[in-house]
């Protein structure tokens, strides 16, 4: 579904990503972890087509990403953005409806099928009780769920999440993670998430990709990736601080 080969990204002549090779098959659930500045978000931006690598190729569903225009990418891959601020009062359903932008009629806008998809996404993520509320007045946890519903409405086979739990309390963290897991197991959506919290990652993701200084240093099941030596080497902390509730 997603394939990166020899991907190198330069930021001011410094390699932010170095010779990345990564294959994610349809229906997989993968978390990218690593310390600050390891290149996690850069990797997501490359996969989403916002950043063109200096060398290497990126493929999405068998097509080279640089051959697809933005609209074609948006129909294949949905991204849950980091919590944005809204300039105008915007109701919850209006935010979710933005997920239909890649599908709606360019002039006439949403058609009945689009409205049905919005309603279905609202049901699927369980934000029906928030309808009619101004999205700016919601709690961070609620807003994250609304953005997730928007990405679900986008109806793409791949869902990408950038630090979806970063501002959330524990309950909402678990809620979002369970939802993402459910989208993966029940709907077969391929998931690629950048996570800060390696405990959450280990608990909810069967495959972890550990990045350090722009390179993939480990890729596999949590137990294989998060060895005490790696935690000490990569994160620079005593492995005893990291409790992995497997």
């Amino acid at each position: 579904m997603i394939r990166l080969e020899g991907v190198t990204v330069l930021y001011r002549e410094r390699a932010a990503l170095h010779d990345i090779g990564l294959q994610i098959d349809a229906g997989e659930r993968v978390a990218v972890i690593g310390p600050n500045g390891a290149g996690k978000s850069t990797l997501l931006r490359v996969v989403a087509g916002l950043l063109r690598p200096a060398s290497g190729t990126v493929e999405l569903a068998g097509v080279r990403l640089d051959r697809l225009d933005r609209l074609a990418v948006a129909r294949r891959l949905a991204v849950v953005p980091q919590l944005p601020t809204l300039p105008f009062a915007t109701s919850v359903e209006e935010v979710v409806a933005l997920g239909r932008l890649p599908h709606e009629h360019p002039v006439r806008g949403m058609r009945p099928g689009d409205r049905a998809a919005v309603a279905a996404a609202i049901d699927r993520v369980g934000v029906g009780h928030l309808l009619g509320r101004d999205a700016r007045e919601l709690s961070l946890g609620e807003r994250q769920l609304v953005l997730l519903a928007m990405a679900v409405a986008q109806d793409a086979p791949v869902l990408v999440l950038d630090e979806p739990t970063v501002h959330l309390d524990l309950r909402h963290q678990v809620e979002v993670m369970e939802l993402v897991g459910d989208l993966n197991t029940r709907d077969g959506t391929t998931i690629l998430a950048v996570l800060h919290d390696i405990g959450l990652a280990a608990h909810f993701f069967p495959r972890l990709v550990l990045l350090d200084r722009g390179r993939i240093v480990a890729d596999g099941p949590p137990a294989d990736v998060l060895t005490p030596e790696r935690i000490r080497d990569v994160f620079g902390v005593d492995p005893g601080f990291v409790r992995l509730g497997a």
């Binding site: 933005r70 949905a78 809204l86 933005l98 409205r115 369980g126 309808l131 897991g181 459910d182």
Partner: protein, 359 residues
């Protein structure tokens, strides 16, 4: 069993009705009626009042070729066709264009306090007009006049300079655009002050332009400005999807399928073109471009597909109304009327905007 099902089941409450389509057809009809009323009132009102029935009959006879026997003085027909109609239509086109441009700038810059003049069009136009007054040659460019032509070029050049100067690397971040717009405007304001200081007898002419108004409207000027404003506004209307994508920011817009760099450049160009043409014919009239989109958003929400056309209708009606009020109050500048109505609204808006406002 997936670990999520318990949480999901617990939260699966009733889903209310989706409040997405907020009666767009009904609102469009209301907007068109408002515009029609503004048209008839705007033509009828003034030092020589013409009854609405006569106004409609004259318009029907002259524009639609209806066979209506005149029951009015010949002067009334001249006033309607040669003076009032071009004036009211100019006000409509300018008001509608400024409202669409304002909505576009607010959406693009993600800033509710943006107006069509935010990137320097107003100060550029004013400076251009002042320069034209200082030039001793009186040339006519079409029927536009040197002053209007220079105002148009001044407005466009100002935006172009702002856009170029705000570039950071390959892109031009919105914050940088806003701040550059402010800086360039300040510089042009200084130039304008200098030009006014040097203008001597031309001062009154510059001043009249700065205040804005429609008393110098003519069919000729309308014929030059209207196509520019209308086409640019239609171009913006057709790009409502891109503006909607920008609601969540440029990165999110890109994820939703918007080619951000291209769409932003196109939308900024169209909105600047509409503003420049509007400013060239009418001078600086504030607040309509700021207020009309917000009033519409209060009713229909932020969806640009609804906001843009409805704001155009409202902006056009407001401008005709403001021009009529200005005429009835003894030919005071329209900008004064729009400011008196718009400024309190602007202040109320500032107080309402809490979490959403950021540079």
């Amino acid at each position: 069993m997936s670990p999520g099902s318990s949480v999901l089941a617990a939260r699966a409450g009733p889903t209310g009705r989706l409040g997405l389509a907020r009666r767009p057809v009904a609102l469009a009809i209301v907007g068109l009626l408002l515009l029609a009323v503004a048209l008839v009132a705007g033509i009828g009102g003034g030092t020589v009042a013409i009854a609405p029935g006569d106004t409609l009959a004259i318009l029907g006879r002259r524009l639609l070729g209806l066979d209506i026997a005149p029951t009015w003085a010949a002067a009334a027909e001249t006033i309607v066709m040669d003076l009032r109609l071009p004036r009211v239509l100019t006000a409509m086109v300018v008001g509608g264009g400024l409202a669409v441009a304002g909505a576009a700038f607010q959406g693009l810059l993600r800033n509710p306090l943006a107006d069509p003049y935010v990137l320097g069009t107003a100060s550029g136009a004013a400076f251009g007009a002042a320069i034209a007054v200082l030039i001793p040659v009186r040339a006519l460019i079409l029927e536009f006049g040197l002053l209007h032509g220079f105002a148009f070029l001044g407005a466009l050049s100002a935006v172009l300079v702002v856009y170029k100067l705000s570039r950071v690397g390959a892109s031009s971040p919105m914050t940088s655009l806003l701040l550059t717009g402010y800086a360039v405007s300040s510089l042009l304001a200084a130039g304008l002050a200098m030009a006014m200081y040097l203008s001597g007898a031309g001062l009154r002419q510059i001043f009249a332009y700065l205040l804005g108004g429609f008393d110098a409207s003519s069919w000729g000027r309308l014929a030059v400005a209207a196509p520019l404003i209308v086409l640019a506004s239609l171009g913006i209307l057709l790009r409502a999807r891109s503006l909607n994508g920008m609601l969540l920011g440029e990165e999110a817009a890109a994820h939703l399928g918007v080619d951000v760099r291209r769409e932003r450049a196109i939308l900024l160009s169209l909105a600047s073109l509409a503003t420049a043409a509007a400013v060239a014919v009418s001078g600086l009239i504030g607040f309509v471009g700021l207020v009309a989109p917000h009033v519409v958003r209060l009713v229909v929400g932020p969806n640009a597909r609804l906001v843009l056309p409805l704001a155009a209708l409202l902006g056009a009606s407001l401008m005709v109304g403001a021009d009529l009020a200005a005429r009835l109050l003894g030919d005071i500048p329209v900008g004064v009327i729009t400011a008196v109505i718009g400024a309190p609204f602007f202040l109320a808006l500032l107080r309402r905007t809490r979490s959403g406002y950021e540079l």
